[in-house]
């Protein structure tokens, strides 16, 4: 079968790989009909996430048709149309019982490696380095889905793939990012990043009751999408001082909640500072460029919440601990516990309340995945989100 393989930083190719097979009676094989390139895939593409090996199959946002199931899988059968959550969860451990699926205790075969990196292991994830298990990803024609009796969501309606594909990651991630802010009536929420997750986070914050949402980015075409589809106000950090502008928009109080939907490869509006962090990241003196996170912390109102859904992999430098501690902020984060949100969000999509398709800027065949990665990374051709049809 054809699959998108990571070969080296900046190099992905679509190659022929062996057909996936059932390795356990709780597995399923899915023929992928639609898959997407995630912003966090760009961290792999750029070589910023450790423990990648040449030939690793990428992709953790995908859906398709079940073609084979293991004997223990009672919830699915061949022919079912499913969306597959990106974390692989066993459904039986204490974390899963608490609906903390992305920190499932049992599904990461390389738990020892993750334990060294993070202190405790996290769940297995499709196509996201050997740190999260080394599972083959879904940017392929076929994929093996472990614990198929726990994760995949069957889609019984005739909704187009594009309407439901993002249930696999970015829509629940965005929803959780807003939910972690515990938005109350009258709250102002600021979102750093107008990429796919940032845009859907702004929309989620609106739906969860925010009085005002402010989206911060530097790409005007993305900010225009935020204004058009989420009702948010926008700030271009290359044009304004974000802290001052946010105070101006909030009567001097600052946003009640700030959401970092950027993560480890943030850009800084001041070239010298951006270059400083980029050099340090390249030399591995720090693993992240946390400009958005720093700004989210310093801009948040006293006693507010900072929610982190942008992906970080290691260690940040110059974390504003003084601001965080002295101003009674709450910092929350996490890879999304996707399974928790699948059905409620599907219901909102089916009712027409939520339509995440506005983030799609490019549709292309799987064979063009390398082009998709390239234009997404370089923000060429007003790229926001690339969907690949397998």
């Amino acid at each position: 079968v054809k699959a998108t393989c990571w070969l080296a930083p900046g190099v992905v190719k679509v190659r022929e790989v062996p057909d996936p097979t059932l390795l356990s009676d709780r597995d399923a094989i899915v023929r992928v009909t639609s898959t997407a390139i995630c912003g966090s895939d760009l961290h792999l593409y750029g070589g910023y996430i450790p423990a990648m090996k040449p030939g690793d199959i990428l992709g953790h946002e995908f859906m398709g048709e079940v073609v084979e199931v293991g004997s223990a899988v009672r919830t699915l059968r061949a022919g079912d149309r499913v969306v597959v959550p990106f974390p692989i969860a066993c459904g039986a451990c204490t974390a899963c019982e608490r609906e903390l699926y992305s920190v499932c205790e049992n599904t990461n075969p390389n738990a020892a490696l993750a334990e060294k990196a993070f202190g405790f292991p996290t769940a297995g994830v499709f196509g996201y380095s050997h740190l999260t298990g080394g599972y083959a990803g879904g940017q392929a024609e076929y994929v093996r889905v472990p614990f198929a009796d726990v994760g995949p969501l069957r889609i019984d309606s005739d909704l187009a793939d594009e309407r439901v594909l993002f249930l696999s990651d970015i829509l629940p991630t965005a929803w959780m990012g807003a939910e972690m802010c515990e938005i109350k009536t009258g709250d102002v929420v600021a979102v750093w990043g107008a990429g796919p997750v940032g845009l859907l986070t702004a929309l989620s914050a609106q739906l969860q009751g925010a009085a005002k949402v402010v989206v911060i980015d530097r790409f005007e075409y993305r900010l225009a999408l935020a204004r058009a589809h989420t009702g948010a106000e926008t700030l271009n950090y290359e044009d304004v001082d974000v802290n001052t502008a946010l105070k101006d928009l909030t009567g001097g109080r600052g946003p009640d909640a700030c959401i970092d939907a950027v993560g480890m490869e943030a850009h800084h509006g001041t070239p010298a500072i951006h270059a400083y962090d980029k050099v340090k990241q390249t030399l591995r003196l720090e693993t992240e460029r946390p400009h958005a996170l720093r700004q989210a912390i310093t801009c948040c109102r006293n006693g507010g919440v900072v929610s982190v859904v942008g992906v970080y992999g290691g260690f940040v430098d110059k974390f504003p601990m003084g601001s965080f501690m002295n101003r009674s902020l709450t910092l929350r984060g996490g890879q999304c516990h996707v399974h928790r949100y699948l059905r409620p969000l599907l219901a909102r999509i089916e009712s027409g309340e939520l339509d995440p398709t506005f983030v799609i800027s490019h549709r292309m065949p799987l064979a063009d995945a390398p082009t998709g990665y390239s234009i997404f990374r370089d923000k060429r051709d007003d790229c926001v989100k690339v969907v690949l049809a397998a």
Partner: protein
């Protein structure tokens, strides 16, 4: 009485110090090689104590590592009805490697999910 020329005294002192350092290092190495070290690992398995203890006996035999099978294993109830804590204690000599955490992790996976996940 040996009559040493004064010029040779520093050289002898250096050699004596070197010998002393060398002997100390050898001593430390021998001590490390001969010392018995206590290793422990613990995991919480989401199942009741009797079930966990019963399954452990079969599991440890399957591992085929006599040293592990002879290790001391304790089972106790985890607080808040979170299952059973399995604590394994083994004594190994010197630099012997005896992985404890991974077998425990595989045991937990087997009890909780019925298998050891692979990618």
């Amino acid at each position: 009485v040996v009559d040493l020329p004064a010029a040779r005294l520093p050289s002898l002192a250096v050699r004596a110090a070197g010998g002393l350092v060398g002997l100390t290092l050898v001593g430390l190495l021998l001590r490390r090689l001969l010392r018995r070290t206590r290793r422990t690992a613990v995991v919480t398995v989401r199942a009741d104590r009797a079930d966990v203890a019963r399954r452990w006996s079969g599991w440890s035999r399957e591992l085929g590592d006599g040293r592990l099978a002879s290790a001391r294993v304790e089972f106790s109830d985890a607080p808040g009805e979170q299952g059973t804590e399995v604590r394994i204690t083994a004594h190994v000599r010197g630099l012997t490697r005896l992985p404890l955490t991974e077998p425990l992790r595989r045991f937990k996976q087997t009890v909780e999910t019925g298998m050891v996940p692979t990618s």
